[in-house]
């Protein structure tokens, strides 16, 4: 019984980090109405940035945030501005241009294989960082410290994004664009600038997730694919466009993955996650917690 409790807690912690990786995906969908297939690759870039920042300077892993957040924001901003904007301009009348999915898939392939070329296929870990393998003990229950920090980062980031969207002028403009881009344009909002900002923020949250993962997770070129597919599942589970839904969806997936192996072979849990995803897709495509315009 105690094991189930331990698995449950660790599942929720890891799941919240999954949710953090999916946060940008849901934000970008909410505003641009496109699924960014390159989001996992963005996470991979963020992980490499964090890894190298720490490995080369030897600072505390979480200090990498100072570098990773602005770099990733600019990266996402530039990607939307250079690659995705021309397609939006060409397909103005389409609400959910499929072409953008295809283009972001192209970006995914380029980024993943570029990092394979540059960094090689080997798995990298931050060997002697202060958080590695650190555990908190509560009686018989062991909780991983870096995952606990990841949980805190996920909740803090979600809260920060939520408050930004609710309380600031830019946040209001983003919400207006996501509701109705034509009407927002008529009110004097430059929709392409909003897209740039939303893409930048979404990418920056992937960077935060990368920093949270690096102390205990391997970094390798195709690491993004793992989180990409998981991210799609999480955002649909939680409701595309819903920030709280992304966190909750992530926790559901995390709990299935950690508690599942108690009763079945570990690899089968993956199939259960897919089955749950399809079930939600067919029964309630707006997701478990998603209201159509949640924010």
């Amino acid at each position: 019984m105690i094991y189930v409790l331990e698995d449950l807690i660790n599942g929720i912690l890891m799941g919240s980090i999954y949710g953090l990786t999916a946060l940008g995906l849901t934000l970008i969908f909410g505003v641009l109405k496109v699924i960014n297939f390159a989001h996992g690759s963005m996470l991979m870039v963020g992980m490499y940035a964090a890894y190298w920042a720490v490995a080369l300077t030897g600072v505390h892993p979480y200090l990498a945030l100072v570098l990773v957040i602005p770099v990733m924001y600019l990266f996402g901003h530039a990607m939307q501005d250079i690659i995705i904007k021309p397609i939006f301009k060409a397909e103005k009348q389409v609400r959910e241009p499929i072409t953008v999915i295809i283009v972001t898939t192209g970006v995914w392939y380029i980024l993943d294989n570029l990092s394979l070329l540059v960094f090689g296929p080997q798995y990298r870990t931050l060997q002697d960082n202060p958080l590695r393998g650190k555990m908190l003990e509560f009686g018989d229950i062991m909780i991983s410290v870096p995952k606990l920090w990841g949980f805190a980062a996920a909740v803090a980031t979600a809260l920060a994004v939520y408050l930004f969207l609710q309380k600031t002028r830019m946040g209001r403009a983003i919400r207006a664009t996501s509701l109705d881009r034509e009407a927002a344009s008529l009110m004097g909002i430059n929709q392409y600038r909003i897209y740039n900002v939303a893409f930048g923020i979404g990418t920056a949250t992937a960077g935060i997730a990368g920093v949270a993962l690096v102390p205990f997770y391997n970094v390798f070129p195709s690491v993004g694919v793992l989180f990409d597919i998981k991210g799609f599942i999480i955002v649909v589970l939680g409701g595309l466009g819903s920030i709280g839904g992304a966190l909750l969806g992530g926790m559901i997936v995390g709990v299935i993955e950690s508690v599942g192996p108690q009763v079945m072979t570990a690899t089968w849990t993956e199939a259960i996650v897919y089955a749950l995803f399809l079930l939600v897709l067919f029964v309630k495509p707006s997701g478990l917690f998603g209201v159509k315009y949640d924010w």
């Binding site: 397609i87 499929i98 999915i101 392939y109 294989n113 070329l117 694919v225 597919i229 649909v236 897919y274």
Partner: protein, 335 residues
């Protein structure tokens, strides 16, 4: 020379070159590359039936390749059924699965449909990887199935050389092209492109869009599964990471999209342009620059989507029309 004659002449010329190629290409490596090129052209043309004409974005077609490969291989290894019958059985099973996937998903909007097909394909891959034995059927999980090259001959769909495979895949490709041409000129083809471009308008005119898409999906999954059997018999080794992989699903879609979805020549053009790129990269730069061909794919994909949204076939067919006009009549062609 009339235009019909010109078309027949160029078609005959292409057919003659394709059929005569093995007489000149003696190297097994290049023959192998050519066979893969035709195989991919076949796969993308089959994908195009639903991904191109029906205007949706299926990203899980490797499922059907896998079903075809596994069905015929299990039947021939365990029950001694010739792969030709297994091919048909795999196709029928694939239709069943394709309709099962299509029924709930075709109601969804663009992004959701793409995600649902990915989830289906990955779910099936995970299941195959986790099952060693399904009732009496030996699936062998992640280790895959090997076909021992013992009984050569047409009946066993197994040959010591590569030439027979070449002619089989050329025949299959020609058949699927003729079929696509026939569909594109049929009522169903018009319904499909109407439903793909303006679903509301098509439905208002009384077209049952969902049913047309389902028919297209059934045909596409059947044809894709046949290629799966060919793949198994050609490589004699299948495993979940090769025939049911996400990479294969994406590659099929990419090639068709770069070539030009919704046109007959587009997917083939895509395969002609991109397959050699990927093979040459793998042969000559595989050890030094791994993944180079995928970077090229990605760059070409983005450039084509931004600058030639209708695919590479657009400039090519424009060129063809110009040449044809110059050579055939002096009367300007009626558009």
């Amino acid at each position: 020379m009339t235009r019909q004659q010109f078309q027949a002449l160029s078609l005959g010329l292409v057919a003659a070159v394709v059929l005569a190629l093995p007489l000149f290409v003696r190297s097994a490596t290049y023959l192998h590359i050519l066979i893969l090129l035709y195989l991919y052209a076949y796969l993308t043309t089959s994908w195009n039936l639903v991904g191109g004409f029906a205007g949706v974005l299926p990203l899980g077609h490797a499922t059907f390749v896998g079903i075809g490969a596994y069905t015929s291989t299990i039947l021939s290894l365990q029950y001694g059924v010739t792969p030709w019958i297994g091919m048909l059985a795999g196709g029928l099973l694939s239709v069943f699965v394709g309709v099962l996937i299509g029924l709930p998903t075709f109601k969804m909007r663009g992004a959701y449909f793409a995600l649902a097909t990915i989830a289906f394909a990955e779910g099936i891959r995970v299941m195959v990887e986790n099952i060693d034995q399904l009732g009496p059927l030996k699936i062998n999980g992640p280790r895959g199935l090997q076909i021992p090259p013992l009984n050569f001959g047409l009946a066993n769909f197994m040959f010591p050389g590569k030439e027979p495979y070449y002619y089989i895949i050329v025949t299959m490709l020609a058949a699927v092209l003729a079929f696509t041409y026939f569909i594109s000129r049929s009522k169903l083809g018009y319904y499909l492109s109407a439903g793909g471009e303006e679903p509301e308008a098509a439905m208002a005119l009384g077209v049952n869009v969902a049913r047309c898409k389902l028919i297209a999906m059934a045909m596409s999954s059947f044809l894709t599964a046949l290629a799966g059997t060919f793949w198994a018999q050609f490589t004699l080794y299948i495993h979940p990471k090769s025939v049911i992989s996400l990479d294969l699903s994406f590659e099929i879609a990419f090639i068709a999209l770069i070539g030009g979805r919704g046109s007959i020549g587009g997917p083939i053009l895509g395969a002609i342009v991109l397959r050699p790129v990927s093979d040459i990269c793998r042969i000559y730069f595989g050890d030094k620059l791994p993944g180079l061909h995928l970077i090229i794919f990605g760059v070409v994909l983005i450039l084509v989507m931004i600058f030639l949204p209708r695919g590479l076939q657009e400039p090519f067919s424009g060129l063809y029309n110009k040449v044809a006009d110059r050579l055939t009549s002096t009367v300007p062609r009626q558009e």
